[in-house]
Symmetry: C2
Subunit: 287 residues, 2 copies
């Protein structure tokens, strides 16, 4: 297993972690100053600053991407909605390409309208079919521009609103169906927050292998957890056995970065400098 | 599929549903008055009224049990804790026997101390081993008194504190290991709240079959859900496809009751009469 204790060369920052403190231009600058050489930005943060400006900032600071967040949200109430989702995913692929991301992360969506509290339908099997078809279409386009897609299985507690792909096994089944040749163009983003509980986690990481393991996200699971979305913990503050999972990832061939992604009202309320410094320290000690 | 629209003969009430409104003696009386012929009581509610008194009330009112809640919580920080858990589970089996329950429901436990916010360890694999050994020991005793054990897989969002068995597949794997002869003494309690999201749900229900399907619990998943424990919905108010799941259960051979179990600050704040009347109405219309 790689030794992270001497530096933070393998640390990436998912920029949602400090989204309430800073705009993306400031985040890139603060990362560069601390020797954090990679980020994973969100589309709305990029749009706020401007795609061209962000691309230029990345070049001048030498900060790269570990992923781009996000495509997905395929299911829709009707054909117009499905078509609009596909078009939006093409734009996401293009943006990822423009920023030289190694992959576009897919949060696939689930019951349309559930996020707004008004689900247009409740048949999760239908949603899963729409997700399958949507990823197939996006993959066809993504292959033409060479942008790998990373399906992120989300925790089952987010199955109604955000993603109807909820286990690594399910994500890999879909990868095998849509990319049986293991081309490297379709894989998974493994976020410990979503999968730590899974009794099949280690076996599925091994099944995935280097070709499918496109991203690795870390944070922690607090006990107790007080909110279904925005109560993630800083690495080391919860119950996830981070080193055990990273060992499995690396044994399976993963050689990429460890991306810190923390949605937390607690950490959003602290100074951004403190958050980044803590990420660096925990990356060296407990990740 | 059985037709529930004409009466509520197949309705059972998990008594946690009105635990904040009434003591258990009152709950039994209110159920009997409404023609609800089965309940699933919790040990603390029974203890409050007294085991003998509860047994007598059940006999005089003609109310039976669909299950007894609960055994489990096996993992512990040390040997003394493990031993104490086994003794407590023997008592739970005896109480279930005294009340003529068809099964003892097991909420198996997970990281010891996590429920109190101070986990004694964080190795969920170790917890799963302690759960396996604990169920094996309880099963040995339960066989001698003829009390079936129903493992209840809990939602992954409760994996740290309450149960490290989190999918139906995982529960059935354990059943196959500890009871390969499918004796009828070890099976599962399928609660839609915990398993509705699972892409393998239907396949695993079929795998379980009549011998392993010992209980069926209903409520609903609200979108959005505001709390990880006490924001369950009344049947029909959420996104779970209840009739689809019941159809799978019955196709697999389940012929038992539909037990309503709703942990909800909302429903606990309403008059108990309203809650029971709503359960009956929804049982006939959407379960």
């Amino acid at each position: 297993m790689r030794d992270l204790s001497n530096d933070h060369a393998l640390l990436s920052l998912n920029t949602a972690t400090v989204r309430k403190q800073w705009r993306l231009d400031r985040i890139i600058d603060e990362c560069a100053r601390r020797g954090i050489h990679a980020i994973s930005p969100w589309r709305d943060q990029v749009a706020d600053v401007g795609l061209e400006t962000v691309a230029r900032l990345l070049r001048t600071t030498g900060v790269g991407l570990s992923g781009y967040c996000r495509g997905g949200f395929y299911p829709a109430a009707n054909t117009a909605g499905l078509t609009a989702a596909l078009e939006d995913n093409r734009r996401a692929v293009d943006e990822a390409r423009a920023l030289d991301a190694p992959c576009l992360v897919l949060v696939v969506g689930s019951l349309p309208g559930a996020l707004q509290g008004v689900p247009a339908y409740t048949d999760i099997t239908r949603a899963r079919g729409e997700v399958r078809d949507g990823i197939a279409a996006t993959l066809e386009y993504a292959r033409t521009v060479g942008m790998p897609l990373a399906i992120e299985p989300l925790h089952p507690m987010q199955a109604a609103e955000r993603a109807c792909i909820n286990t690594l096994e399910q994500a890999l089944d879909l990868c095998d169906e849509l990319d049986p040749e293991r081309s490297g163009m379709l894989g998974v983003a493994v976020d410990v927050y979503h999968v730590w509980w899974d009794p099949k986690l280690h076996a599925q990481i091994r099944r995935a292998g280097a070709k499918r393991l496109l991203a690795y996200h870390v944070c922690d699971w607090l006990a107790p957890t007080r909110d279904l979305l925005n109560d993630r913990g800083m690495m080391g503050d919860g119950v996830i056995e981070l080193k055990t999972i990273r060992r499995e990832m690396e044994s399976a061939g993963y050689a990429g970065l460890c991306e810190v992604e923390i949605f937390s009202e607690d950490w959003w309320s602290r100074p951004g400098e403190e958050v980044l410094d803590t990420c660096i320290q925990r990356h060296r000690s407990v990740v």
